[in-house]
Symmetry: C2
Subunit: 555 residues, 2 copies
Amino acid sequence: MKISSLQTARLEYVPKLPKMLKNGITQIAVKEGSETKSVSDYEKIKELFPNTYGKKEVVFKKGKNTSTDKKQVVGVILSGGQAPGGHNVICGLYDALKSTNPENELYGFKGGPGGLLKDNFIIFDDEYINQFRNTGGFDILGSDRTKLETEEQFSIVTDVCKKHNINAIVIIGGDDSNTNAALLAEYFAANKTGIQVIGCPKTIDGDLKNEDIECSFGFDTATKTYSELIGNIQRDANSAKKYWHFIKVMGRSASHIALECALQTQPNICLISEEIANKKMSISEIADYICDSVVSRSEKNMNFGVVIIPEGVVEFVPEFSMLISQINELLAFKKADEFNKLSTWDEKYEFIVNGLTKEAVDVFNILPRNIQQQLFFERDPHGNVQVSLIESEKLFSAVVAQKLEERRKSGLYNGKFSVLHHFLGYEGRCAFPSNFDADYCYSLGYNAFVLIQYGYNGYLSKISNLSSSAINWIAGGMPITKMMNIERRHGKDKPVIKKALVDLNGNAFKYFKEHREKWAIETSYVYPGAIQYYGPSKVCDNTTITLALEKGSFD
Amino acid sequence: MKISSLQTARLEYVPKLPKMLKNGITQIAVKEGSETKSVSDYEKIKELFPNTYGKKEVVFKKGKNTSTDKKQVVGVILSGGQAPGGHNVICGLYDALKSTNPENELYGFKGGPGGLLKDNFIIFDDEYINQFRNTGGFDILGSDRTKLETEEQFSIVTDVCKKHNINAIVIIGGDDSNTNAALLAEYFAANKTGIQVIGCPKTIDGDLKNEDIECSFGFDTATKTYSELIGNIQRDANSAKKYWHFIKVMGRSASHIALECALQTQPNICLISEEIANKKMSISEIADYICDSVVSRSEKNMNFGVVIIPEGVVEFVPEFSMLISQINELLAFKKADEFNKLSTWDEKYEFIVNGLTKEAVDVFNILPRNIQQQLFFERDPHGNVQVSLIESEKLFSAVVAQKLEERRKSGLYNGKFSVLHHFLGYEGRCAFPSNFDADYCYSLGYNAFVLIQYGYNGYLSKISNLSSSAINWIAGGMPITKMMNIERRHGKDKPVIKKALVDLNGNAFKYFKEHREKWAIETSYVYPGAIQYYGPSKVCDNTTITLALEKGSFD
């Protein structure tokens, strides 16, 4: 098996642990804080989690380990989309487990939550795990998107655990997976199984974040990888001076990735979905906003630029959501067949336009024809428009192009507008974790085991003070129920971890807002370059700008 | 002006020079070799270059500098597409020039050859140039694609040079630009202007390569950047286990980039245009070749994979070229209007099919409808199909999908085939140059000045023995005419530098061929990770695998 020279070198990297964890497992004492309560909907959450609600916050400190000495058998799963550092969570968990007692065992369930239900497992040993240290990807186990949420599933999980004498499960996942981890923990407690559940906060999207969780792992590496590429594209734009690049970046429900990339690279434009929703902006207004930058720059003979677009942006445009829901209704059930039978676009167009309200038709008519058609190419099994397949980068560049031609006719624009499109997503989810993510993930995993050893259930592994050096990080745990509220999902009230959208009053967005007018007109590009794992600390140990701004440590 | 922490660190990097150049300008002596002749068409080339043909090869060595002491005023341009390291060529040139005589001057013409014709210049000084050391991009001057090839242009260039007392021009460009550099050198010599021309071999495509030029600069960094991303995508594929990724990489006329990326990452499939042309493969055969891998892998429950496609591949498929030329003929002049007036695709389809030969119709019918339509969306001013706009990655995945369905019906395939598409190009042309490119480019520029100082004209700056450490590189010069032959271009015989296609008998392709069957069926992915500028030498100083294989130093 051939491996790259970087991978060979990274296998030797020793992740940094916070000082309270780095003296060996016998020197970790626990300190409990006060009892916790959920972010809101206290009563309802408490009712739903009678056995796991209200537990105390936990912090580890240097001191004699007072946990019970017993053989631990732990199971671990990776849940959902890939994020750099997942392998290191498992390595940290494994190392803490084995150094506590060589008889301890770590089961890995292959293929995510689905694999846990199928009892598809391996038992980790040094030889297997050592191949994955400090590497990207989730290939150590694989993953899937099965949701563990029903009593029936929980009962199967209990059987699987009992079969192997597993006394704790670690779930590495995003907000939904950790919500389900809390439900599973409650089930285990209610049924007196004696099995514990610990979650670890994963997602490149950065939307699993709150008072306790400063950032989810993977966000650092993914945004640095995208920023490397955006910087390179900006340098190309500024060299060739002839293209506008419309770059869509991953992040469907929140724009943290787009915002962080903008902070790192200083593009001409970056759309923030949360702001668009807040201001109830229309497609036309968004396009005009971009046009203003194109026109200003063309007046200085700069017919080039870069626009960053968050993947989910169209879903945040109120009029667009309205259009989509009308189309979904129009083409529901049998009407879809009727539509599909129409052979020419003109006939289909007429059918659509006759079935929509005037407001919806107006929005539909703003869209360029290829985007209009795209709305009907592929629909999901219920006949719904697949919003995630809409190429929003092409949508906006096309509307911008139309508007520029109108301005040209009015004598308000005299430039050139040639566009190139990019989508950055899969390029960053499995990169080698940055030193930050390598250290953070290893600490999360190591810490998860200490929580297990001390008998906690329904906790999220919590490492904080992340904008400081790793040695100063604070390790501990927080009951997952503390991060929950009740939200309406699919017509039902559900207890869920509150998803973190971009805070329009937060420091990160504020900094962006203060600078973006200058960036829109001038060429203020910053070129971050590739992630460095070696070299000057300023180059290889820096955090995201979002985190630095949020923690007040940005200079 | 904010710059990234990597850029700050890279400004301090001191590029390595070959030992024969590193003792200071006073310690560089020259050794002339034997007279040269062109690769073929000796008589014709000699006739076209009476003043610059047959000159001697030059190698520098440590020794007393015997060049004439005179003030040098040099002009430099960047020509054509961006390649990482262009800034360092200029930095090396500047440093050699200033260390020889602080009175020497370096003019940079802005916006490429077009800027030289317009006399749009800056004069370099320390403050300006120091911002660009070891950075990517061509933004130090900009570039364009103007071809300097007519007597009229040469006369303007002469005037510009005389105006500023410029006695030498350095042209940093690809094969066409250096062909034109040779023509300009001959013009200068024939007209006894006393002005010299030195070329530097640039292009990420890697097709400016021959007996003398081991590789063009930028190829190393660009292929490492693409390989980083392909590796990341492979790791994602191997983690999620549900997608086939079809990745198109830059390189229209040669497949060096695709081949190097394949050597670095070991994907399941990599198409090589030169082999396809050599074997006269049809689209259907190529798709079947990919299908075989998809089917074999699906039998082992691996419904995922990675296919690398060189940008220009369709132009190398004989039947596709035939189709395109028939379409171009069919839609020439007035017939295009007739075609454009047809309102439905069915009418257009009938028009097309009636106008093509049976062979062409058969090829056209293999294509999925969206690709059929794409051929007609945008045509160039002459009404020709724009082959470069054809999304070949989507073309092949669509044909593969069709064929898989046929195999499924015959019971020969029972897998899932979900595809994602990528195009990697602009992400890599302006990356921070790798240490290799930073050193190589600086040496090329430094060396170019030594050639000027010694009075050479019509030479390419030549640094060889590149698979060894920089200290052992050999610095010298080679008459550009030596690399020339006569080719038919636009119906005329022209002297040009012979473009290097992938050599199907060369070591690089051979290695690929020996391993690809295994790679197609197994998962042998290698994950190179991001370019490292610091750290272990094995990680940050390695060359491309192509170069190592060609020079016999691959282990």
